[in-house]
């Protein structure tokens, strides 16, 4: 039954023009060693002494405008080639050992169409210090509602 459901949803996604999404790398492809938990990132952001990573939201603008991690930049959804290209351009001038944190939070972790593809793209470019914020359910429950640093706006 689950297999049939997956087939139907995959077909719907392709029907929506998101063929890249349907074939995207799942978030589960990201190794555990490359994940960072929300509480850990929030503590880093609140610490006066800790060096701050470059934080890139690789999700959707409608979500970013409503709320994003304080200081995070909008990189755009990595579920398509245009978003991935925008991400590549943003990091093109950075040293390969730059500390990067990417996140999305559009939907439950296992269903996120963005973080897996964004992580793979950054690793392919040679970035060695890429962390992915582990958002189990969504950006509201796992970040905003916990009182972690957040901002609004484009």
């Amino acid at each position: 039954m689950k297999f049939i459901t997956a087939l139907v949803v995959g077909w719907l996604l392709i029907g929506a023009g998101n063929a890249a999404l349907a074939a995207a790398k799942p978030a589960s492809s990201i190794p555990a060693s490359s994940l960072i938990q929300p509480a850990e990132l929030a503590a880093t952001l609140r610490s006066a002494d800790a060096p701050k990573p470059l934080i890139l939201q690789v999700g959707f603008r409608t979500m970013y405008v409503q709320a994003h991690i304080s200081g995070a930049e909008y990189a755009g959804p990595a579920n398509g080639e245009s978003g991935l290209q925008r991400l590549r351009e943003r990091v093109a001038a950075l040293p390969k050992d730059a500390v990067l944190v990417i996140y999305c939070g559009c939907c439950p972790w296992d269903h996120c169409p963005n973080v897996g593809a964004a992580f793979a793209a950054l690793r392919e470019l040679g970035f060695t210090q890429v962390k992915v914020l582990y958002i189990a359910e969504n950006f509201d429950d796992d970040w905003v509602s916990k009182g972690y640093p957040a901002a609004k706006g484009p």
């Binding site: 029907g15 929506a16 959707f60 409608t62 979500m63 509201d140 905003v144």
Partner: protein, 143 residues
Amino acid sequence: MAPDFARADLDGKAVHLAEYRGKLVLLNFWATWCAPCLEEMPKFSDWQRAYGARGLQVIGVSMDDDTAPVKRLIARHPAAYPILVGDAALGESFGGVLGLPLTYLIDPTGRIAARYQGSGDLGKMEAQIKARIAHISVGPAIR
């Protein structure tokens, strides 16, 4: 109270939430990139067909950044209820739509009766709908 809003649906027809007072409204925020949302939508169409005459009105609000993929998907897989394209302002009016799927059940007086974040228990959701529409005196359909 649920915040009021007015938007045109994909057919260009005006949808004004306040005009559905007297009905039980299932307001579903979704997006074409949200796999769990796409799993739920056929069931919402089923419910609209089954319970629409008894006072249920489903409204779908896509939170896609663009309208084009929404139109493509709905053209291939029509929904039995109006589909609107939302934006950040509409999301913020509901306290922030920061993860999908997100569904509200709005009672006939316009109050938010339930909020379902994430892939909910559709059986439980349907049971709540059936229990609430049992108390609705049905007026003329808007759509």
